[in-house]
Amino acid sequence: MNDSFVRTICPYCGTGCGLILRVRDGAAVECLPDRDHPVSRGHLCIKGWYAHEFIHHPERLTTPLVREGERFRPVSWKEAIALAAERLRGTAEKYGGNAVGGLSSAKCTNEENYLFQKLIRAAFGTNNVDHCARLCHAPTTVAMARSLGSGAMTNSIEHLARAGCIVMIGSNAAESHPIIMGEIYRAVDGGATLIVVDPRKTAAAENARIHLAIRPGTDIPLVCGMMRHIIDSGLHNGSFIGERMEGFEDLRAFLSDWTVERAARESGISEAALREAAETFARAREGAVVYCMGITQHACGTANVFALCDLAMLCGHVGREGSGIYPLRGQNNVQGACDMGALPNVYPGYQAVGDPAVRDKFRKAWGRDLSDRPGLTVTEMIGAAGEDIRALYIMAENPALSDPDVNHVLERLPALDFLVVQDIFLTETARLAHLVLPGACYAEKTGTFTNTERRFQLLRKAVDPPGDAEDDFSILCRLGGALGLDFPYRNPGEVMEEIAALAPAYGGIRHGRLEKAGIQWPCPNTEHPGTAFLHKDRFTRGKGLFVSPDHVPPRESPDGDYPFWLSTGRMFAHYHTGTMTRRSAFLNREQEEPYVEIHPEDARKLTLEDGDPIRITSRRGSIVTTARVTGRVARGSLFAPFHFTEARANRLTNPVLDPLSKIPEFKACAARVEKIRA
């Protein structure tokens, strides 16, 4: 009969809101907002308010499971760890270390991600480790690293409230990052102009002064047109460019092909609106570019991000409070998973795998020989399953719903010799595994998450994992030990000490320093208070670099057989593949059924009414879902939230990849709609 209040961090999106769990008799019974939290300040979105509901769900995995035919048999941890070690090591011995791969988790802590990539690299001598950032902000890490020298959000979330003009492009923060949307509205209340660029009339677009409803995949034409107009009008920041930038003349030459007229025509926006948006942004004292999946999830996603960086730097809107480039990271710890090197080409702290000095440092620290060859990405590993990749270790990821062209995923994963999946529920991916390991959720562990503004934040354990489930840190230590690695850590805090010693940007991070408000990296030493915004006097790479963005239209566009644009994304009540939210009563009540948005005129032509069952088909596959007739989506376009396992939007999506960052083009492909007759 004891109530306690545990301060922790919300497990859903990258905002990293403070969450207080009220715990009674060992169960988390309620969520309360943390009024003392520097980011969320007493606010929560609907998902945060109900982030306790799935914790004690009866379907939680409570014991390791081994598959026998169609069924799973509970086994002891001893057996499970031994099996995993034996099969993974066996695969490496038979086919070489590069036949083993690991998908780390953007939901797990920094410490767990660090241990995961260390395990894969040290035990198997491969760099085949990646995670779902590949599907969301890989273009950000690649492009911003090149243009600015650092692939992370340049500012803090609260700085948005100080912007005078916010260009929100390819982001529906009102549904995906609601607390950040609140900061944007604070800016608007202070007089800022909000410009939303989105083919759909999202809630954010409805509340914007200017909504540019571009054609799908025409971000580069729009932004180039804006830049061209800014330069032609003399509104670019000459002194900033002169002192702090390189490559302006190349960009200017490149833009000679992009007249405002051409930009407007290709993007489907009026010239007047394009000019107005450009001028408003350029003229603002503080200008912010906020972006998300609508920019990154394209076959030219990396180039899209280059374009946005160019726009911001052209106007000198980087390196101050308010101004900046704000990629909104999706998962609660996707920033951290990247920072911790769960990526095939870098170690923790973005130190290149191919750099001999770096490799030497890690080799000494870990006591194992390491590969200098960059590894495979998520989509490549799954694509090669059964061939180049024989064994996969997947920690808290659900590619059976989240990867593009899931029909293909569902064919490939069973071709593996050995698949071990570690998660808190028996997800669609876990069902395909040979071995399932029951992990712990955010409320059952300590460790750190890093939010989208680079803030390391401490989690506090509120309740115990159910049954024999263990926190992922412990599982990784056991498995590492079984693979012959030295994982002597008594607690995640000790892992953080090791991380700090190997990655200079996080050199000053210690659990003991994170109690109050967390710390934003870079934080090179334990005296350093952390960094609220980057690129103040110099860019991380020295001078900022203008990179000309080559436009590639969506690789598949509507035609006679598939006359609709199809885009996929999110809605406010659910999170990603629904593993947690669809097991939360309140959230599931809010949206129980899958749906696809279709415009009223298109619905009329198909004699469809709101709520009718429909079949959506693309060249990859087909789903049966429900029609939501709404003017939010444009004529000739469909929008499918991907949260619903019974109508997986990713059966339809195009697995074509951006060549630079290997992200799939989730945001644009072609589909057709058929009414289902009763």
């Binding site: 409805e206 002064r209 009223p600 709520g611 939501r628 709404t630 939010r632």
Partner: protein, 166 residues
């Protein structure tokens, strides 16, 4: 999804009044005692009444829940009238006292929101004769006709655009 269909149903079929202008829609809750008798008699006598109102009979005005009034306004109805018995005459233990107090507060909230408490007409004991009913409805109809349509401010999605400087 139900709400969507309901909205479409109620917003569709705009009837035209005189001179072709769309006739404002009025919803009347009438208690089956004082409130409804006048309405019934006005109907039998085929009195001259504006075409666009509907009467929902209720056992007592106290059963009219304010939520239904908000919902009515959200569905495209322009004015709501609640007809009940005069203050001494409620058959159900002065339930109309509570109803009147409550509905007066609804007017306050409608005023707060700028929608206007005057869109809610309360006639407790003043519409129980047929000619009284007809006069009340005619006057209300004329008043509502002069009020700006609520349609631009309703809900979100589809046709609802609030300010947008295009």
């Amino acid at each position: 999804m139900n709400a969507e269909k309901n909205k479409q149903g109620l917003q569709g079929g705009e009837k035209k009044g005189k001179a072709g202008a769309p006739s404002p829609k009025i919803l009347v809750f009438a208690c089956r005692w004082c409130g409804g008798i006048g309405a019934g008699r006005a109907g039998w006598k085929r009195m001259d009444l504006p075409v666009s109102f509907r009467v929902i009979p209720v056992e007592c005005a106290a059963l009219v829940e304010p939520d239904a009034i908000f919902r009515a306004l959200a569905s495209g109805i322009d004015g709501v009238a609640v007809l009940g018995c005069h203050i001494g005459g409620c058959r159900y233990n002065e339930a109309n006292h509570a109803a009147l107090k409550r509905l007066e507060l609804v007017k306050v909230l409608l005023d707060t929101a700028g929608i206007g408490g005057r869109r809610l007409l309360l006639a407790f004991g003043t519409a129980h004769e047929d000619h009284q009913f007809a006069e009340v409805i005619r006057n209300f109809h004329e008043f509502i006709g002069k009020e700006p349509s609520l349609k631009p401010w309703l809900g979100a999605g589809e046709d609802i655009f609030l300010r947008r400087e295009e």
